[in-house]
């Protein structure tokens, strides 16, 4: 698929801080800098993978982009429109074009609704189709995701994890969105079911020309599905590049360590790995300078004081490191 001149989604200097309140007066005592100044583009028809460990801000980034969380700073251009400038009504209309698939297929479907209601809800919210028309649309959606339309009368608890995730996908597809944010969509599933859902997402992308923002901590999954990948650490993007650039020849020391920590399903491949010492520092008081310097095997004095900007270090690859 060819990338168009203007990216479908363009994120610039996005920030999302969560205040921590304390004391009798609930004064703001500090901020969790969950997403701290990240910028990236996603082209139409591609899959952009956002990868990182827990607490790195990848989920917050996904939600802030959909304005499910109100960003504190930055701009988000989606499909030629500045999302942060939209008023409630306009945003609501725009939301048809951007949908989300959640990680936990058990928590993201209302247990008291039938599948018909769940998958038909987007039409109800946007006042699009009703009655038998909606019924037909729901049936079609279920078929698209590989479920028999007779399941419409059933409730979420009657389905397995993989089937529920299919239902969640059907709901996300209902309004023919342009962008889908998939937040750890296969992490809760068994290995053999994971592959089925990953294939389904790839098929749907082809069929409907979808663009994905795919958020996951599972690096092999991200590599398989993504065109380009952004690696996050403590609220910052540390490296962005094509999936081959990131996974075959990582440049940032954190990306290198992250990749070397991935266990390979082959006993012959037990390898020398870069084992990072210590834990991820808290995003409440991130280290000064480069946020990774406390665990970085090659850090120098400069890294402790000066924050490295994300800059292009080769064709198509950006990295935030002084030593590259």
């Amino acid at each position: 698929m060819l990338a168009e001149a203007e990216p479908l989604l363009s994120v610039r200097n996005l920030k999302k801080y969560f205040p921590i309140r304390g004391g009798v007066l609930s004064r703001v005592s500090a901020y969790v800098k969950a997403v701290d100044d990240i910028s990236f583009d996603i082209n139409k028809g591609e899959t952009f993978g956002l990868v990182g460990e827990s607490g790195c801000g990848k989920t917050t980034a996904g939600r802030a982009i959909l304005r499910l969380l109100q960003p504190d700073a930055g701009t988000i251009r989606f499909d030629g429109i500045d999302l942060l400038g939209l008023r409630k009504q306009e945003l609501r209309r725009k939301r048809r074009d951007m949908q989300i698939i959640f990680q936990d297929p058990y928590a993201s479907l209302n247990p008291r609704m039938t599948i018909r209601t769940i998958v038909g809800e987007p039409f109800a919210i946007h006042g699009l189709a009703s009655g038998t028309e909606r019924e037909h649309l729901v049936a079609d959606l279920l078929k698209t995701v590989g479920l028999d339309p007779v399941v419409m009368r059933r409730y979420p608890h009657e389905f397995s994890g993989g089937q529920r995730q299919r239902i969640g996908i059907a709901r996300a597809l209902a309004l023919k969105p342009k962008l889908i944010v998939a937040d750890e969509p296969v992490s809760a599933l068994d290995v053999s079911i994971q592959a089925q859902i990953i294939n389904l997402l790839a098929d749907l992308q082809q069929q409907f020309g979808l663009t994905y923002l795919f958020i996951s901590h599972a690096i092999p999954v991200i590599e398989h599905i993504s065109t380009r990948i952004g690696v996050m650490y403590l609220g910052k993007l540390v490296e962005v590049g094509t999936s081959a650039q990131i996974c075959l020849a990582p440049k940032h020391p954190y990306t290198q360590a992250l990749l070397s920590a991935v266990p390979i399903p082959d006993p012959a491949a037990r390898k020398q790995r870069i084992v990072l010492r210590g834990d991820v520092p808290t995003p409440i008081n991130p280290p000064a300078g480069c946020r990774f310097h406390t665990r970085c095997p090659i850090a120098v004095d400069r890294c402790k004081v000066e924050e490295p900007p994300l800059r292009e270090i080769e064709e198509g690859r950006d990295a935030a490191c002084h030593l590259l």
Partner: protein, 322 residues
């Protein structure tokens, strides 16, 4: 090599209102001294129930209905509950997936480790405490004297898992069962914990059973691998053979369906999949439980129970494996 643990024809069934669930059905394996057995399979395959059966912690409606579990030659299933208590924690210990729920939030971690010593050995409180600190040092917790006074919430996930490991090791058990010990952890922390477990195993000549759904984790540390499906071991053998030359179609499918690091060398659009779903354990088919999803399926597969057969170094439960 002497076997520290030998499990023979273990059967653990759950007698539910809807019927009998054969969670573990005729499972046999052994763990030699100082070695690691990897138990791999998807949710509901019976790998955790196998672990609970070895420690005799299966709770009703579950019951161990058959087989033998020999620890250094002594049958655990014929022991009294009193005797079994002396085995748990002292000779066999367990490490669980979620350290936050396995630890008591209102007691210091040092106290909780020392408690394990006091439960099994006649030592003073002071000595138990110093043993706890020593164990924390062994699992590479920095500043153990000070950290021992911390409560679980003051530690990170990786540190809590180290505490669990320290607790498991403090009485020098012969066998440690680690049930998904790194599943709740981030990859960089997972790498630390796996490295630690492996070095402790070597240092203390521990026998280890590592249970995981993650083929990568299993490949990383196990010498012998047992693959479980619907309550049965479908393939068991040396890790190299099972991973490089899987003989059961389920093992084969499982290995093919995981995305691998480095796949962008030749990008494929689709992953290979195992079609269908795990069967309901309440209504298992007569013959091979995997038959419905298997590409090698023939009529014979569904006619009679399929037995484990030796093929070279492996044992495989499939009539088409040869």
């Amino acid at each position: 090599m002497t076997d520290v643990l030998e499990v023979r024809n273990l059967k653990t069934y759950f007698y539910t209102d809807e019927g009998i669930v054969k969670a573990v059905d005729d499972v046999s394996f052994s763990v030699p001294k100082g070695r690691t057995l990897g138990l791999v399979g998807e949710s509901g395959c019976g790998k955790s129930v196998t672990a609970m059966s070895i420690t005799r912690l299966v709770s009703p409606p579950g019951r161990i209905v058959g087989g033998e579990i020999l620890l250094n030659g002594r049958d655990l299933l014929s022991m009294s509950e009193q005797e079994m208590r002396q085995v748990r924690g002292a000779q066999i210990s367990m490490i669980f997936q979620e350290p936050m729920t396995a630890l008591n939030p209102v007691l210091s971690v040092g106290f909780q480790i020392a408690e394990a010593v006091l439960a099994h050995e006649k030592v003073s409180r002071r000595e138990a405490w110093s043993r706890a600190v020593e164990a924390m040092k062994a699992v590479a917790i920095p500043d153990p004297e000070k950290r021992a006074k911390d409560y679980p919430h003051q530690l990170s996930g990786g540190m809590r898992q180290r505490i669990m490991i320290a607790m498991a090791l403090v009485c020098h058990p012969a066998l440690v069962i680690a049930d998904e010990p790194t599943t709740a952890l981030d990859v960089t922390i997972q790498a630390q914990i796996l490295e630690l477990l492996d070095s402790l195993r070597e240092q203390y000549h521990l026998s280890l059973i590592l249970i995981s759904h993650d083929l990568g984790v299993i490949a990383e540390v196990a010498e012998t691998v047992a693959v479980m499906y619907a309550g049965k071991i479908v393939e068991i053998g040396p890790a190299m053979d099972v991973f490089h030359n899987p003989k059961h179609p389920y093992t084969e499918g499982l290995l093919r369906s995981v995305p691998r690091l480095g796949s962008s060398v030749q990008k494929k659009d689709r992953l290979e999949v195992i079609e269908g779903m795990v069967p309901n354990l309440l209504h298992l088919p007569e013959g091979c439980s995997f038959a419905a999803r298997c590409y090698k399926r023939t009529v014979e597969c569904t006619e009679r129970p399929i037995l484990l057969e030796h093929i070279a170094e492996q044992e495989v439960r499939c009539i088409h494996a040869r």
